[in-house]
Symmetry: D2
Subunit: 330 residues, 4 copies
Amino acid sequence: MIIIAKSTVAAQHIAQVLDHQNPIKPVFVHDNRVALAGVKTLPETELQEVKSEIVEIITNHHSAIKSSRDFHPEDTIIKTPHSVIGGQHFTFMAGPDSIESPAHVEAMGKAVKAAGATVLRGGAFKPRTSPYSFQGNGEAGLKAHRAAADALEMDMVTEILDTRDVDLVDSYTDIFQVGTRNMQNFALLKALGKKQKPVVLKRGMSATIDDLLNAAEYIAAGGNDQIILMERGIRTYDNKYTRNTLDVSAIPVLQSLTHYPVVADASHAAGVSKFVAPLALAAVAAGAQGLMTEIHDDPAHAFVDGAQALTPDEFKLLADKIRQIREAIK
Amino acid sequence: MIIIAKSTVAAQHIAQVLDHQNPIKPVFVHDNRVALAGVKTLPETELQEVKSEIVEIITNHHSAIKSSRDFHPEDTIIKTPHSVIGGQHFTFMAGPDSIESPAHVEAMGKAVKAAGATVLRGGAFKPRTSPYSFQGNGEAGLKAHRAAADALEMDMVTEILDTRDVDLVDSYTDIFQVGTRNMQNFALLKALGKKQKPVVLKRGMSATIDDLLNAAEYIAAGGNDQIILMERGIRTYDNKYTRNTLDVSAIPVLQSLTHYPVVADASHAAGVSKFVAPLALAAVAAGAQGLMTEIHDDPAHAFVDGAQALTPDEFKLLADKIRQIREAIK
Amino acid sequence: MIIIAKSTVAAQHIAQVLDHQNPIKPVFVHDNRVALAGVKTLPETELQEVKSEIVEIITNHHSAIKSSRDFHPEDTIIKTPHSVIGGQHFTFMAGPDSIESPAHVEAMGKAVKAAGATVLRGGAFKPRTSPYSFQGNGEAGLKAHRAAADALEMDMVTEILDTRDVDLVDSYTDIFQVGTRNMQNFALLKALGKKQKPVVLKRGMSATIDDLLNAAEYIAAGGNDQIILMERGIRTYDNKYTRNTLDVSAIPVLQSLTHYPVVADASHAAGVSKFVAPLALAAVAAGAQGLMTEIHDDPAHAFVDGAQALTPDEFKLLADKIRQIREAIK
Amino acid sequence: MIIIAKSTVAAQHIAQVLDHQNPIKPVFVHDNRVALAGVKTLPETELQEVKSEIVEIITNHHSAIKSSRDFHPEDTIIKTPHSVIGGQHFTFMAGPDSIESPAHVEAMGKAVKAAGATVLRGGAFKPRTSPYSFQGNGEAGLKAHRAAADALEMDMVTEILDTRDVDLVDSYTDIFQVGTRNMQNFALLKALGKKQKPVVLKRGMSATIDDLLNAAEYIAAGGNDQIILMERGIRTYDNKYTRNTLDVSAIPVLQSLTHYPVVADASHAAGVSKFVAPLALAAVAAGAQGLMTEIHDDPAHAFVDGAQALTPDEFKLLADKIRQIREAIK
């Protein structure tokens, strides 16, 4: 249940009256409206004392407020040094899965920039299912990534796995990325909520739409409104031919519910390079405002996830088709 | 395990030698090759006697043979009086969910034909979750549907629920449709395998890709090779905002595995009209060779599933965008 | 929305007033109450004319009425020649997956009877994923099954796949079985609703609890109240080590919602014989009123699903433990 | 692919030869065997140079080695001040969902101890879907929890959410708990791998069995072998009547694959108190070596998850039945 109070003072008073164990919080929303979050559904009788201070009571709404288009109708548009993300803009984010070497990330960056990418992706800290798999090159990777992004005049996006690394990663990157397995790592989300830097938040493997909005709300509640939501495939009963199932409907659904940009990662959804392009095109046709793609010039020897990497040439072809689809669905 | 025999005679001999309870069947595939289906994985020693009659042993292959592109590389193209389905062709199949009246189905048919549809869909036998929901108008519905299709020079496609109705429905329709809930109604599939008429086979709610290919194989094994596979959304853990989850990756995956046309039903996948268009566009961008859409001029009073119906105008707009996307991905 | 009318006459009048396309049906429930099924949710204003004839309006209820414990509080208890199923009774149903020969089914029956089974299971019509797999011995299987059941003074339960076979199977069996793949084969359910013989209805692979209750309602609506619901494992994202995921919670959930007996099939849930016993014990501890188990004296050479069959000795051990657990949870 | 080397020296040499980007690691397993983890599947030709140093090559094995029963056949038994966990022992872990006050946690502890619990559960850091929900009492909660455990001579188990809190929580608790949402928070798992204290690792909402074993391996690889695996319900397509779906088969499956104790949390699986007992009994009948249960003396006013809490009396009744089932399945 969400209560909209007449004013900040009213909100504080209502919170005081209704509060018990749960610290009810006033959340400032557009047009001087103040929403009270964390209120349990209450019978009308318990609201008598504060009735005159209430503008509206909203039931049947997911608990994310700052993330909700109901309280923030216009699209959030995020500006980074080299990109504009959200609204009618389309952003290509591409690069190698992991940062392998300074030369390699720069070469990959050059290739994707030529195809239209403005954001250079790459992982220095890799969340691998097995502890015996390559865990990323750590700070050396961050350095190489930063250098390549600077040289190419691109934005850098990289994954953060640990609250203890937030400042370190912050000192290198333009955009943080929170991976699927950490979508509900609330300590990490809170830490990123205190930064003034965009965060790409990837949907968890079995996260509902509401779960994703609430995860975004953790970042927003801390004061950071620069959030980019990413659909990357969910876990379903069939994964024989693809690694995950791209939930393409999540794109228009999220766009109807939230003002944040919604982008797609077709590489992890497909898991196999030959299906990356059709899934990417599908995501764009469904309205995605950006695409993250993994590329590699020698997929067979990629340190991580080579099977799902496009070659630079395949990426270029895909980017051209995407621009045509954007034209078609205008 | 699939065994390819040197000849028909060889196949019959191998079947005789290896057969125990399972009636191993020779399946004729392209170029005079004969595949033996239903063979359990056997150690080499048990194959000694027939080794010289074997051309090839294929392991790690789903059990569908006639449906497999490995044995039939070129696309199957299906010709009906008014449509060409498969290959590079794109087919619009549209109409009301259920046949409500002769006038209504004709009006809906007229609208979708104007937008480019050549196949008029409509249900006379409706598979409803509850026995107390409207079950369709039965033979009266079939008659009205046929009359409208004839008047408009369109093809008719309608769902068949019961083996006892196969001849009845056959006497009216151009294309049979097998619904999600009957994808593994093997008695029905076998009955349709004996007809020489196209069958639209909808994927079951939790059918794997292999399950769908095997279901198609039931029809093909009976002698009917005119099969159209339809992705219509699968059941996943999240159905708050859409009725099902369109598995858009099924489209390119199926096209890589089978030669049958693969089409999509965005209406049932979305379940809500406002999400039908983005899902339809996504399916087309992913390579779907056709689209089935439900329309209604007065969705609020539709007999069945009004919430997911497009209006004729919305359908027209969608069809135009689809043609542009087809152009873009050529 | 379910409306409870004052009387049959009232129900008929209300149905007349509210009816449009949907044939609203009066459903007789306990204590002379008459429920109106198939009513769409209506605003109060549209009910003015019939308000005085309405006893109660129930919202937020699944659409199954005759299946609901709300309208039929006491347990349904089903009596067959050799078994009492439901309530505080526990029924062992066991036998081979498919009827292989007269001697074999009788030997298996003898073994399971010695362990406490009163119902002899076995398939003459087998729903196989591939058309090339063994499809069952048909009527010869039914005959052998009947003969064994008679010789051993047991009840016979066997699967029915096709509406055209209902009379044939009826002439042999004591209990019909509807398999997972046909749970929403509504034509078949309707046909069985006209028989006065118990039906074991297996839950579909991705059927919700409400789907299962509504499927049962198809049988009940036809006039056959002898329904046994069977949980047999659902399809989830992980099937590496078991064939399906036994949804053990479905057992107490169903028992809270419906009065029909709820039994479990641990064989198909496990898919591997070594996990059949722990799953069976779990189902019994959760309150299952019966258990169906597949056994075979030579699992490696079983015609169908040998991997999940218990040997007669394993079954005996399991049956003894089950009796102890029934004692423990009394 | 797992390679078993003849000796430590051999392992180091093989690692050197085969290593490229992936740091192949020798993992010491029982009986002086050394397994090489992180080896990609290689053709025989690439192994020529080190062939004589290899004892065995194991394919088709999940990548967890220290967690695997294949390399550590006997059960791991964990001893805490007041409990013995694993093997033939059964451990009751119970207490309030969150630590509400010193008096409350002590009262709850007293009640569960009387019923047989030796481990007192309770959360001071709560991972809540919404940032506006109660997030736990933090260090004050830890203190109260510790004091209650000491007063009652019980073990304390509490959840850890953040790598930065590991030392803090370590200074209070006897057993760490990693929650569902952090099962693949690899930074946290690595941090706990460096502690010499038991860790309860809850299965992720859509974690496969292999995912769970690999997550455990992160802890084990760091040197901490005191791991307790917990099944707590997975996310499936149906959550209308229960919060999650208890995957009861995970219990015997895990016990066949790993030597770690496997326990169950029926509270989160059910989500509704009336279904907690049948699920708990099912888990025990399936072989669970312990049970975690949430209790509250006033569920309607619990700070968190009151709907799924048992009252102390209900818990006592359940504990008695569990002891009888343990007797029955011996």
